[in-house]
């Protein structure tokens, strides 16, 4: 383990989910995480899609030394694939997903694409003696959706067992949640910086994990998990999206906090909680 840099053993770390080209939320989240004492910053992939100017987010991530795990978007854009591989099944969802993807693919600088291809799909780090596994969708599939209401405890225990981890961190769904399991294991979906959480609020979310104060004396224990709301200049983002002629449906989500597209993949519980 001696060759692993100290950043892989932080006491406090921030985990960002899908950024979807929302560079303003990303900058705000980085500032916020540093202010709260995060020693390391991670992003779990899906840097593009939905928002404007896909070249901006990769530059910010590199400037601030955010460690990035590959999402399905980076796999697709990096390899010039025909679609985003988000895993939607509904024709309307697919149409909007394709608009976002075509725009992103066309406007992503070539230098970003080779970086996207080189990103790892999973990453293991340690915090307070706990083995963390970072991935995009799930440890077993880059585009698997782990929603709260369809990720039951026995299934999550199995993932932790199969992948020899104490904590799994993921994104891909855009909705944040966490479960601490009877075994003491933890599974945390860190949410997304790219768009609000379908709750009628315009802020976005990230996850901040900390090693408990008692660690040195008592040994490994579940990490403290905090979901942090991030307010940012969403009206500016909306203006930029309109200038880039991105669909008004996307803009509406940014301005209202309610999802208007990609809804058919939501399980009943999550769908009932939204407006559309």
């Amino acid at each position: 383990m001696s060759s692993i840099p100290a950043a892989l053993f932080p006491r406090r770390a921030a985990f960002f989910g899908g950024v979807y080209s929302n560079s303003h939320a990303l900058e705000e989240a980085i500032r916020d995480a540093r202010r709260r004492g995060a020693e390391a910053l991670f992003c779990l992939g899906d840097l593009g899609g939905f928002g404007p100017h896909p070249g901006r987010v990769p530059a910010i991530l590199r400037e601030h030394r955010v460690t990035v795990v590959q999402g399905n978007y980076e796999d697709s854009v990096g390899h010039d694939r025909p679609d985003c591989q988000c895993g939607y099944t509904d024709p309307r969802d697919n149409r909007f997903a394709q608009i976002a993807y075509d725009y992103t693919l066309l406007n992503t600088p070539a230098s970003c694409k080779s970086w996207y291809r080189s990103l790892v799909r999973t990453l293991r780090i340690e915090m307070g003696g706990r083995r963390l596994l970072l991935c995009h969708g799930s440890p077993r599939r880059q585009n698997e959706f782990l929603w709260r209401s369809t990720s039951p405890v026995p299934f999550l225990e199995r993932l932790l067992r199969d992948y020899e981890a104490d904590v799994i961190l993921c994104t891909h769904t855009g909705l944040h949640w966490g479960r601490t399991l009877p075994s003491g294991g933890q599974v945390i979906n860190v949410g997304a910086l790219g768009r609000p959480a379908n709750d009628g609020r315009t802020n976005v979310w990230y996850a901040l994990l900390s090693v408990g104060a008692a660690y040195e004396a008592a040994g490994p224990a579940p990490l403290a998990v905090e979901f942090v709301p991030v307010a940012y200049d969403h009206e500016r983002l909306a203006r930029e999206m309109r200038r880039e002629m991105l669909p008004e449906e996307f803009v509406e989500t940014i301005l209202t906090g309610w999802w208007t597209t990609c809804l058919e993949v939501l399980p009943a519980r999550e769908r009932e909680a939204g407006r559309f």
């Binding site: 024709p91 929603w147 209401s149 369809t150 990720s151 039951p152 026995p154 299934f155 999550l156 225990e157 199995r158 993932l159 067992r161 199969d162 809804l263 058919e264 399980p267 009943a268 519980r269 999550e270 769908r271 009932e272 559309f276």
Partner: protein, 297 residues
């Protein structure tokens, strides 16, 4: 004409699907018993088909325990008609304690009282409850011809009652209704569902498996409608629901919810002993592979 024998090939010629891990368990809670006798039912359910019986909650417990140990992700309750099972509500409660559940119904028993109870059960669980109701056409003409007279209006009333109790039912439509697969057909269905009061309609379109009653209604499988190893890819096989699911009836554990009338598809008495590869020798397997369908939501 669905069995492996007719095509006259040796067993190892069939493509094999690996079991990658048990994610999905189907419970045939009503067996093959149904209040209807639809002409396209691929397991020929009817009021008098007792080849698979009603499951009691007590019969389900050992399977639920096993599923918990194996880390199953989701459950489906089907039949036949699940709401014929007198214990359906306690069965649903027990299932939802362990994971998300989907109930597949023809909608005829979904009255106000039942929907109110379902709402309470759904709200008490940490996990999602989905209700899937079948329609087979845009109006009584198509639907009732397949499902029996008067059934369209009763199913629509059931859907409305669900909507009144804040459910977002998924309406499944089979390809027996002509033109449902296209964009126009879809749009017409969405309009129909909006008009009966579903503000956020969800639709799932299913192909027809040419077995059971459907083999008599339209036709059965031709001998060439089989899969071969050289015409399948590992990714295609891994996407089949038999790579990650099993179906439980009163007669044991089957490879999938489609082949419960095939003795060769019964893989054991317990879930654990059925987690092994399966040779795809049936006509129905051809439909699954070619249409890329899964019965899951």
């Amino acid at each position: 004409m669905n069995g492996p024998q007719e095509a006259g090939r040796s067993c190892d010629a069939w493509p094999k699907v690996e079991m990658t891990g048990l994610d999905t368990v189907w419970f045939y809670v009503a067996g093959t018993l149904c209040n209807l006798r639809c002409t396209h039912c691929f397991i020929s359910c009817s009021p008098d088909n007792r080849s698979h019986g009603m499951m009691t909650l007590q019969e389900m417990h050992p399977y639920l325990d096993e599923a918990e140990r194996l880390g199953v992700r989701e459950y489906y309750l089907t039949g036949g008609e699940p709401f014929l099972n007198r214990e359906i509500l306690p069965i649903l409660e027990a299932t939802l304690r362990q994971g998300p559940a989907t109930v597949l119904t023809n909608g005829l028993f979904l009255d106000q009282l039942t929907c109110r109870k379902l709402r309470a059960i759904a709200d008490a669980s940490d996990y999602s409850l989905d209700i899937r109701v079948s329609l087979d056409g845009w109006g009584p003409e198509d639907h009732d011809r397949i499902r029996g007279s008067g059934t369209f209006h009763r199913a629509v009333n059931g859907i409305r009652a669900l909507a009144e109790h804040r459910f977002l039912p998924i309406v499944t439509v089979t390809e027996a209704a002509e033109g449902v697969g296209g964009i126009d057909g879809r749009t017409r269905f969405l309009e129909l569902l909006l008009s009966v009061g579903l503000s956020r309609p969800r639709i799932k379109i299913l192909p027809l498996w040419r077995i059971g009653a459907e083999a008599g209604r339209a036709r059965g499988y031709e001998s060439w409608e089989r899969l071969s190893s050289d015409a399948t890819t590992p990714e295609g096989l891994a996407a089949l629901q038999c790579s990650s699911g099993r179906a439980v009836t009163t007669r044991g554990v089957y490879v999938c919810p489609i082949l419960i009338d095939e003795p060769g598809a019964r893989l054991g008495a317990r879930l654990e002993e059925t987690l092994r590869p399966f040779g795809l020798s049936y006509g129905a397997c051809h439909t699954c592979y070619v249409s890329g369908v899964t019965c899951r939501t």
